[in-house]
């Protein structure tokens, strides 16, 4: 393909140079010769840019179209006249107006070079047919040596095309074609506006410079027809010459601007590798969005175990389907994807860049995916831990209720029966009275123990009266004097209250057992959506949170609620237990 491109470049160069050189062998005013040189130079620049675009973006047809346009351009607008030979004159006659439809094709299909809308395709096709129809009368009947009003200079020794049959005055039919140009250009402008409106934000940014240039060209064309009646007549106006030349140069220049954007992104793809090396986890999306210049970029990571795409937080995401205005590029092997990029469809035209960026981000994405997987698992573990604690609480409550409604009631019933039996006895019936009294004493002891057991399992007062009442009740029972510094006024939610309660309860038990303290301070407060629990004693300290199942269990309980527990217990400095548990706002 490179050979073809070089051939096109060389051929285009030869055409332009040949046309310029030919200018000096015909008898033409010097102003025409000078303009010709400017025009052919501009055409060559255009051809060169076209070939360059072709080289850099082989997947796009924009390059060949651009080159074709600038090859066709010097062949139109009467330039043929300077090539006084049958072959070039035939070719020039045939292609005289083909630059127009090529131009429409180029602009409407940019940047892919492929027309997507049916309307665009119909318009461009019509343009090509129109151009050929326009050429036919000249090919067959036009003789520049005969007098005609359209071209000011009459060429007496000009060559005729191979296809010339006989002279006919074709000015009339050509005028009709000329006037048809105006609506065609207007339709073109309308299609251009439609293309801009319909394109995605990213696509619009790419298309805009060229579209503005094309708009400029189109509008100057309309003005030209409005001012002079026919495009061919403009050849006489110096001002219009420069406007036309500038307009035609605006096309390759704006294309080059579009290319510059592409070049920047491409070098950014290389920078991406370096950037990701130092990127903190979770920033791969941002880096990719910058590299691909698509702020709307979304990253979906593939989890092979769950067989689904998830976002950075591990939540499953649905990839958009075609026709939703978003495009999806899956990175990695099709049977074992790593991630998917959900992006602006305009990026599909830059598949090479997408692939390069995807490859560059591969390791970082693998990393990110592992993290998403971990987060998902962590979330599951966290949820199940919370459920276990909650289920445990539920079970404790049920046990307490069963004891209360079952064993305790039965024992009381038994006690009453004993009492009744005793009242029925005749005095000192073989010592049975004493035996019954003894049984009653035992029964009372059993009831006391059972009551404390039930309370230890789950105090009813916590569920019914809330944390403050339950903590005050704990303080009443503590064998070490307790000072309650503060208690929350509002309820904190059942799991949090249970955790806070058992934390205080277990801590007070520990103080009584080990701390040799003279006083304990207890404080429960709600601040910034967290329940803060503090139990502080003035005892010997030296408690080891790693030892003993009591503190361990408390830490687990607090962690299950996403909270933190710290134990500060240096020897001789007392023990301070501090927990923070999120409890909503």
């Amino acid at each position: 393909m490179r050979a073809v491109r070089l051939l096109v470049l060389a051929g285009g160069g030869a055409l332009c140079a040949g046309s310029a050189v030919a200018l000096f062998h015909v008898d033409q005013p010097s102003i025409i010769q000078k303009r010709g040189i400017v025009e052919f130079t501009a055409a060559f620049v255009g051809i060169a840019i076209g070939v360059l675009v072709w080289e850099l973006r082989p997947e796009s047809r924009t390059g060949p179209l651009l080159a074709a346009y600038f090859i066709a351009a010097p062949l139109s607008e009467g330039s043929w006249i300077f090539w006084n030979h049958q072959l070039p004159v035939t070719v020039a006659f045939a292609l005289e107006f083909v630059a127009g439809p090529i131009f429409a094709h180029l602009i409407l299909s940019y940047p892919t070079g492929r027309l997507t809308s049916r309307l665009d395709r119909a318009f461009v096709t019509f343009g090509y047919v129109y151009a050929l129809a326009y050429a036919l009368p000249r090919l067959l009947f036009f003789d520049p040596r005969m007098p005609h009003f359209r071209d000011v200079e009459t060429c007496w020794n000009c060559a005729l095309p191979y296809t010339h049959i006989s002279w006919r005055n074709v000015d009339g039919i050509r005028s009709v074609f000329d006037w048809l140009l105006l609506p065609l250009v207007l339709i073109f402008l309308a299609l251009l506006v439609r293309k801009l409106v319909r394109s995605s934000p990213g696509g619009r940014r790419v298309v805009l410079p060229l579209s503005l240039a094309a708009f400029f060209v189109g509008v100057q064309f309309v003005l030209q027809i409005a001012l002079y009646g026919s495009p061919a007549n403009s050849w006489t106006s110096t001002r219009w010459f420069w406007v036309v030349t500038l307009a035609s140069l605006a096309i390759p220049v704006s294309l080059a601007a579009g290319m510059l954007w592409g070049r920047r992104a491409r070098s950014a793809a290389a920078d991406l590798v370096v950037e990701l090396e130092h990127a903190p986890p979770g920033s791969v999306r941002d880096a990719l969005a910058r590299t691909l210049a698509d702020p709307s970029l979304e990253l979906a990571l593939w989890l092979p175990e769950q067989r689904c795409f998830v976002d950075g937080d591990g939540r499953p995401v649905e990839l958009p389907t075609s026709g939703s205005g978003r495009a999806v590029t899956v990175l990695g092997a099709s049977d074992a994807p790593v991630a998917a990029l959900v992006h602006d469809p305009v990026l599909l035209e830059r598949r090479a860049l997408l692939t390069a960026a995807g490859a560059a981000a591969r390791f970082a994405l693998e990393n990110e995916r592992l993290q998403a997987q971990l987060r998902l698992q962590l979330e599951e573990v966290r949820a199940s831990r919370a459920r276990i604690v909650q289920a445990g609480d539920e079970e404790r409550r049920r046990l307490e209720r069963d004891l209360h409604d079952g064993a305790q009631q039965r024992l009381l019933g038994l006690g009453m029966a004993l009492q009744l039996a005793r009242s029925q006895l005749v005095p000192s019936a073989n010592g049975a009275d004493e035996l019954l009294a003894e049984a009653e004493t035992e029964l009372r002891a059993a009831l006391d123990e059972l009551r404390e057991l039930a309370r230890g399992i789950h105090p009813a007062i916590l569920t019914e009266q809330g944390l403050p009442a339950a903590v005050r009740s704990l303080a009443e029972r503590s064998s070490v004097p307790v000072t309650i510094v503060g208690l929350p006024e509002q309820r904190l939610g059942e799991p949090v209250e249970a955790a806070a309660y058992f934390l205080v309860s277990e801590s007070l038990a520990n103080v009584a057992k080990y701390a040799q303290a003279s006083t304990v301070r207890v404080c429960v407060a709600k601040r910034n959506g967290h329940a803060l629990v503090d139990v502080e004693d003035d005892g010997v300290g030296g408690a080891d949170p790693g030892r003993g199942s009591g503190l361990r269990g408390l830490a687990d309980r607090v962690h299950a609620l996403d909270g933190t527990l710290t134990v500060d217990s240096r020897a001789g400095a007392g023990t301070r237990i501090h927990a923070e548990i999120p409890c909503g706002s």
């Binding site: 209720r401 409604d405 009631q409 009453m416």
Partner: protein, 214 residues
């Protein structure tokens, strides 16, 4: 004295009713839930309602809520709440509704029919009853620096009986001392503890319990 017994456990309901009847009280109705209890009170206006704290449908503190409702709507009806929980909170909640015709006893007291019947009679007579075990715990509670330590053993005894809801006369009968002596003790206690004199009148039990609990 007409008594209504409310307990969702048949065993205890019947047992308590029988014990009270044996003690010479007139048990006019036995019910198993709070709404039934309120109906009975409304219809028959008993002197005292003996209520289990935990009853259907939620098995939490309906009994207490029903007791509070009765005290609000029928102030002449006394309420004795029986509970398996030794919780000051519940006793105070009951006393919040006024310091007469009410009591909070541990359910274990049904094992001593004399004590139970006496409590019902005291409440029917306008008095207050707080379970001795609860009071004993409050009095015996460990404290750092407290004016309680300045009380004489006798004064402590008087304080506990006050907390149990006994009147001056009740205390003097219990301790076999002259009412005048009891008054002196009580004045000393109030001074030593720094309790306001006004608390002595109609909010005495509440004030003492709150003091002991702190």
């Amino acid at each position: 004295m007409r008594v209504v017994v409310a307990d969702d456990s048949v065993l205890l309901r019947e047992g308590v009713a029988r014990l009270l009847a044996d003690e010479g009280l007139d048990v006019t109705a036995k019910v198993s839930s709070a709404p039934e209890l309120l109906e009975q009170v409304e219809a028959n206006a008993p002197d005292v309602a003996v209520v289990d704290i935990r009853m259907p449908p939620t098995h939490t503190d309906e009994g207490l809520a029903a007791a509070e409702a009765i005290r609000r709507r029928w102030p002449r009806v006394g309420v004795l709440v029986l509970s398996q929980y030794v919780e000051t909170e519940y006793a105070l909640r009951l006393l919040d509704g006024g310091e007469e015709r009410c009591g909070y006893l541990l359910k274990d007291r049904v094992l001593d029919s004399g004590q139970l019947a006496e409590a019902v009679r005291r409440i029917g007579g306008g008095g207050v009853v707080v379970d001795p075990e609860l009071v004993a715990r409050l009095v015996g509670k460990s404290r750092t620096q407290s004016p309680l330590q300045e009380l004489t053993p006798r004064e402590r005894e008087v304080l506990a009986l006050m907390a149990e809801g006994l009147t001056d006369r009740g205390i003097s009968e219990r301790l076999f001392v002259a009412p005048k002596t009891v008054e002196t003790h009580i004045r000393h206690i109030f001074t030593k503890l720094g309790l306001p004199e006004s608390a002595a009148d109609n909010k005495r039990v509440h004030a003492v319990l709150t003091y002991l609990r702190a």
